[in-house]
Symmetry: C2
Subunit: 225 residues, 2 copies
């Protein structure tokens, strides 16, 4: 029996559900490849259509514009990651162990998950690192937020915040610390690989060092009473 992971996506993100058709799945698959290769700015629906072997109009039947497509794939990633976290911390009692697993999941390269056939999670992880914040760093963030487009990110933040509170019930900034972990897991990785002098990991460029930094940061913050 093959297990298929289904991430429930916000209906407002698309005009036609890409999960329901071959073309739709191709749009997701190829857009992940193209955005990872060329970056979000250089990514266009025309190039995507050519890559898939369909027409521009075909893409527009699924997504109103490339910004919503970006939000879609990033939101998919957060949903997928929350599932990974719940799966991997299941039956773990010690909240500190849970939190360490979360940090590791956030800050190390994910393996391509066979359970989701048309999404390459490791490519998607790269996109989340370099393009992720562009999903909300816009003037429409308020409207997008009203439509709940960032719910998967918020849910993840709440999950991590709760683990932090399990570790340290009196800690005052569980959510801000959660977003700090998430954002820094990605930014430190990006800096390490692209602007190494902004980090202390330039020599080895090892993800494990980012993990060590984050663990140190987080546990010294919350262990203090």
């Amino acid at each position: 029996m093959k297990l298929q992971v289904q991430i429930k996506m916000n209906e407002g993100l698309f005009l036609r559900n890409p999960e329901h058709t071959e073309l739709g799945k191709n749009i997701i698959k190829h857009s992940i490849q193209l955005i990872a290769r060329y970056g979000f700015e250089a990514f266009t629906f025309k190039k995507l259509a050519e890559d898939i072997g369909t027409t521009e109009a075909g893409i527009y039947r699924y997504f109103e514009n490339k910004h919503l497509l970006l939000i879609y794939i990033i939101a998919w990633y957060w949903g997928w990651l929350e599932y990974q976290i719940s799966f991997q911390t299941n039956n773990v009692k010690d909240p500190a162990v849970k939190l360490k697993k979360v940090i590791k999941l956030l800050a190390t390269t994910v393996e391509d998950d066979i359970k989701t056939n048309y999404v390459d999670e490791s490519l998607l992880h790269q996109i989340v690192i370099s393009e992720g914040s562009k999903a909300y760093l816009t003037k429409q963030v308020g409207e997008d937020n009203k439509q709940q487009f960032f719910k998967p990110y918020k849910d993840l933040c709440a999950v991590i915040g709760n683990i932090i509170l399990e570790c340290s019930p009196k800690y005052k900034y569980p959510r801000s610390l959660a977003t700090t972990i998430i954002e820094m897991a990605h930014f430190q990785n990006f800096f390490m690989n692209n602007l190494p002098s902004l980090t202390d990991f330039g020599k080895n460029k090892e993800e494990t060092e980012v993990v060590a930094f984050l663990k140190d940061l987080v546990f010294s913050s919350i262990k203090k009473v």
Copy 2:
């Protein structure tokens, strides 16, 4: 006597030095206003030209494209901020006090500085918060970095890293902690105002709370031996 602050800018960022002419200063002034108002994506040289009362071609004589103009104004901000830091921490002996001043400077709204007449620093601060990371989150980051376009950010990071080391000579991640302070000062502010459930400051929306969070984060990390 009027003091004028001059930030030395990288020559590779522009075709013609905007500080040397009226039009150039207008380009900087109006682009800060327009980017702050409409966001970087919606900002175009055509709109900028109309706003100034010149032509598109006129802008292109100063900046090759809007991406370099963004890097320019962000780099200017980092230069200006480093000056503010050196000014405000001058004669302060206790490195912990210095570090607290740095956090406050990063995380609270700056007052428009009379010493720089064509730059509105508080608007620019808003731009750095919502558009700053777009300067380097691109596929050209490597080439831009080779041309030293991010030197002001790196210098600031080094300055803060050194203050951290003064506080705690054995701390292992001074640079990564410095970038964490810088990025989180801005992201927590953005989240507080736009996606409040990602922070613990949603109720009051007070910058002072971001400052408190960062101080807690930083000093619990470095005080531990």
